[in-house]
């Protein structure tokens, strides 16, 4: 269970990027986080595994307070948090297998890591997971020889190799073509239920969010303004989150403007 309470992130003396965010994730559910660029989705996700340092607030994962951890304790906590990135963040010159095994770096010692002598159980698990997502035949291929969708699947396996308690996905499909991004979303959805894993997905594509996730959280300017099921996510919610975004100093309390841009985008983003 993930409990975020009163999370604030502010850079220097600017407007805070995250303003007292509260979020509770229970059990194994797939949650999508939607919002315009700059709404704070990425920042929030990165605060969870401390790639970004929260300014104040609390984040508890299965009882452990993450915000105050340091050094070895922080690394141990990070082991339990798997992350998938928009840019895949693979190590291009290494093979797929090495990239996948890198997920175990929090568990093996330095010698094993450098000489690539991972325990047999890790190797078994790697092959099993790679077969599950369909990339086992690429094991010894260089990571940058794969297509975008395949690379993201490597990223998924790497994250799962950590045996995480929660999976964070930062716009996992933003760099992929529409068909491949559907495949990845389907993969995440099925893995979440197979492994009983809570998954938080940052996503732009509202249609995919509605189709593949059970709960939608909407952020705008660092505040959560929507939290409900896909069925509840109607046009009004869409406007509230995305409406009139091109004017950044607009007062949020103003009535939402007609979002001419976004309605057309939603129409064209329908499932293929």
């Amino acid at each position: 269970m993930l409990e975020i309470s009163k999370l604030v992130k502010r850079y220097g003396r600017d407007e805070p990027v995250l303003k007292e965010l509260d979020l509770v994730v229970e059990g194994s559910s797939v949650i999508s986080i939607v919002g315009a660029s700059g709404a704070g989705k990425s920042t929030m996700l990165r605060c969870i595994n401390r790639l970004v340092e929260p300014t104040s607030g609390s984040i508890r994962l299965n009882g452990t307070e993450l915000v105050t951890l340091r050094g070895a304790a922080l690394r141990r906590a990070r082991r339990k948090i798997g992350m998938i990135f928009q840019g895949f963040n693979l190590i291009d010159r290494l093979t797929v297998m090495e990239n996948v095994l890198a997920g175990r770096l929090g568990y093996v010692n330095l010698f094993q890591a450098v000489t690539r002598r991972y325990p047999q159980t890790d190797i078994e698990r790697a092959f099993t997971l790679m077969e599950r997502v369909g990339i086992a035949h690429y094991a010894d291929k260089r990571a940058d020889a794969l297509s975008g969708g395949e690379r993201q699947r490597v990223g998924v396996v790497r994250a799962l190799m950590q045996e995480p308690e929660i999976l964070l996905a930062d716009e996992p499909t933003a760099s992929l073509d529409p068909r491949t991004s559907e495949q990845i979303m389907m993969l995440l959805q099925s893995l979440a239920s197979e492994l009983s894993l809570p998954v938080l997905i940052n996503i732009h594509n509202v249609a995919q969010a509605k189709a593949y996730t059970e709960r939608i959280v909407g952020l705008r300017h660092g505040k959560m303004i929507f939290d409900g099921t896909p069925a509840d996510f109607d046009k009004e919610a869409l406007d509230a989150i995305y409406g009139g975004i091109e004017v950044p100093d607009e007062d949020e309390d103003e009535a939402p403007k007609p979002p001419a841009r976004f309605v057309t985008q939603e129409a064209s983003d329908g499932p293929l």
Binding site: T95, R116, Q120, E124, A126, F127, A136, A139
Partner: protein, 270 residues
């Protein structure tokens, strides 16, 4: 080619594929390296007795060199002034001349015979250490900064020309294609598609070469081609280690400043 062994059901192994796949080649290479090291170290003449005297000598030298003496500051200044002048003029000439040679020596924009000529000139310019070239120029045109300028010009052509040629060979060909598609001629394509891609690097290289030449001008002076090198050589020759140390410190300082300035300029251009 996954190296997975499925003979025993459920037990699959994996080892990192080694950098060099062929085991004979791999081990052969290691053996060759070790054999070379043994041979090289064995065949080099080391005068161990003299080397043993090294540490006490070093102590004496560093002792004598500390603190650095700036008494003959005027000599220092003249020497440096000359080094600057040599560096400026040599860089100017060298960089200017390197552009045509680089264009000639780039495989992707020069026809084969011209490419060979360009490459040859650059290789010859690079083959000799500036000190050797300096000695030859000194023998030809006499002591003094002229020999230094000639030496460093050749040096610059070799260095900047080669890097520039490589840079030209690595440009984004798409931009050239786009220019050609508009019907632009050879020179126009050169100016609009090639030069903008290499210009920042060219400026960077020029600044780097100015830096380099400043450094080198200190050295060619050792063989009489003008500049602070001559002053340094004299100091060493007279065992004036404290003056020599002073000169060295200033050399380092000047190079640092020059590098800082050139780095700043390069950043501004980028």
């Amino acid at each position: 080619m996954a190296r997975s062994d499925i003979a025993t059901p459920g037990r699959r192994t994996w080892r990192k594929p080694p950098f060099i796949a062929n085991p004979w080649l791999r081990h052969g290479l290691w053996l060759a390296v070790i054999a070379y090291l043994v041979w090289a170290f064995g065949s080099l003449p080391f005068n161990w007795e003299r080397i043993g005297e090294g540490l006490p000598r070093a102590a004496r030298i560093f002792g004598g060199g500390f603190p650095p003496s700036f008494e003959r500051g005027a000599l220092l200044l003249t020497g440096f002034k000359e080094s600057f002048q040599i560096a400026i003029l040599a860089t100017l000439l060298g960089v200017a001349l390197s552009i045509p040679f680089a264009v000639m020596a780039a495989r992707n924009i020069a026809p084969l015979p011209i490419y060979l000529v360009g490459r040859a000139v650059i290789i010859v310019s690079r083959s000799f250490h500036p000190v050797i070239v300096a000695i030859l120029f000194v023998a030809a045109v006499g002591f003094g900064p002229l020999a230094g300028i000639l030496t460093l010009t050749l040096y610059s052509i070799g260095f900047v020309g080669k890097l520039l040629a490589e840079e030209i060979e690595e440009i984004d060909w798409g931009q050239v294609e786009a220019m050609r598609a508009t019907g632009a001629g050879y020179l126009a394509t050169l100016v609009y598609a090639v030069f903008p891609q290499i210009l920042p690097r060219q400026v960077g290289l020029s600044m780097y070469q100015l830096d380099s030449n400043l450094r080198a001008s200190a050295v060619v002076g050792i063989v009489g081609a003008g500049g602070i090198g001559g002053t340094l050589m004299n100091a060493f020759g007279r065992y004036d280690y404290d003056f020599a140390f002073a000169i060295l410190l200033i050399i380092i300082a000047v190079i640092l400043v020059s590098e800082g300035v050139s780095g700043w300029v390069r950043k501004k251009i980028w």
